[in-house]
């Protein structure tokens, strides 16, 4: 398929790279000359050094035969106009806009741009999906190791509720509970300490085992 990517910032660059790697044809519209040059050095001749919000450059990029116009600049108003131009002038089949301010999703839909991606919304979605309630926060990596510190709040109706620390099976993943914060007090985590809803456990875990720790605590 042929995609026109409007905006060669971080999002546009990596998106294009991924699309190229999966065998698609890509043209990036980037108005900054030096940025365009950088992309060309990295990805080859897939850049048009021109503003994406002007119809004639969209034409030059072949918007008429593109399967989709993907507007991913950091400027919502610009992304809106890029998509509207592609729809009105080129009759591009699909237009997709990045929305930086989540509030603008409604605005874009009302103005005829149905497909929007909001990075804030995506991240929120992932978090909400992963965590029914409570919280799971990888706090920080430990330098010079493949370990990290995770803080997790024990939620109701999860495998960890009422279970003893030793029965969670964390040690099979190389992870250890370093302490439990209960009502503001620190408890030592012994193997036979039962966990309660609302407990915040501090876990030392191999980075690679993060998903296993999450599963052991939240199911």
């Amino acid at each position: 398929m042929y995609f026109i990517v409007a905006g060669g910032g971080e999002v546009g660059f990596h998106l294009s790279q991924a699309l190229l790697e999966s065998g698609h044809e890509v043209m990036i519209l980037e108005s900054d000359r030096r940025r365009a040059q950088f992309i060309q050095e990295q990805l080859g001749s897939v850049v048009l050094n021109a503003p994406a919000d002007e119809g004639r450059y969209q034409m030059e990029a072949g918007c008429g035969r593109a399967d989709a116009m993907i507007a991913v600049t950091g400027d919502d108003a610009k992304n809106l106009v890029i998509c509207q131009l592609a729809k009105l002038q080129c009759h591009t089949e699909r237009v997709i806009a990045r929305v930086n301010n989540p509030k603008n999703e409604i605005v874009f839909k009302a103005l005829g741009i149905d497909e929007t991606i909001s990075s804030t919304r995506v991240i929120m979605g992932v978090i909400e999906q992963e965590l029914p309630t409570g919280g799971f926060f990888p706090l920080m990596p430990l330098t010079g190791s493949h370990l990290e510190i995770i803080e997790a709040e024990i939620a109701p109706n999860t495998p960890a509720t009422g279970k003893k620390v030793g029965d969670l099976g964390l040690s099979t993943h190389g992870a250890v509970i370093g302490g439990i914060v209960r009502r503001g007090e620190i408890l030592h985590a012994h193997g036979d300490t039962p966990l309660q809803v609302g407990d915040r456990v501090i876990v030392f875990s191999p980075t690679a085992a993060e998903a296993d720790v999450r599963k052991a605590l939240f199911g």
Binding site: E54, G55, K78, V107, L111
Partner: protein
């Protein structure tokens, strides 16, 4: 008439002054506090600091009861977005956007958004002045010169009529 203007640059501030003087209730929105210094003295309307493409900011500016909305920021895209929000979401009856790129101005006009391009208006006017065309822009020039004289403190200049519509609207028709 309740009027919301976004963009308090020279044009926005000038127009806000004219409308305020003719008795309209004007609110000007701009991202930069310093821009409000462009407003003429005395200006009795409202000013609001904020992003004119943000629905909450526009609500705060009173767009829900506005009869006219003008998008006069420096960004064509911002003006187009704000104008569409005003028209399609808030249902403002009269919406005008400054779009300096003549091609985009033309395209959106065909989509029902009243646009004007400083580029094409000024270019056309300047050519007419050079050609000494007596017709094109005669009224426009006379009125704008009169406004300039009044801004400069010349009290003998004629006052604009209270019912006068925003200048660019006439030009864009």
């Amino acid at each position: 008439m309740n009027i919301v203007i976004i963009g308090c640059g020279r044009v926005g501030a000038f127009l806000a002054g004219l409308l305020d003087e003719s008795g309209h209730a004007v609110t000007v929105v701009d991202l930069e506090k310093a821009s409000f210094a462009h407003l003429p003295e005395p200006y009795k309307g409202n000013t609001l600091l904020g992003n004119g493409t943000d629905m909450d900011v526009l609500r705060q500016a009173g767009i829900e009861s506005a009869e006219a909305f003008l998008a006069l920021t420096q960004g064509d895209n911002r003006n187009l977005m704000a104008a569409q929000v005003a028209k399609e979401i808030f249902g403002v009856r009269r919406v005008i956007a400054k779009v300096n790129d003549p091609i985009r101005a033309n395209l959106y006009r065909s989509q029902g958004i009243t646009t004007f391009s400083r580029t094409s208006i000024l270019g056309t006017l300047l050519k007419a002045m050079l050609d000494e065309d007596p017709e094109v822009g005669k009224v426009l020039l006379e009125q704008s010169l009169a406004h300039e004289r009044r801004l400069a403190g010349d009290t003998s200049a004629p006052a604009p009529s209270a019912a006068s519509a925003p200048g660019p609207a006439k030009v864009s028709r």
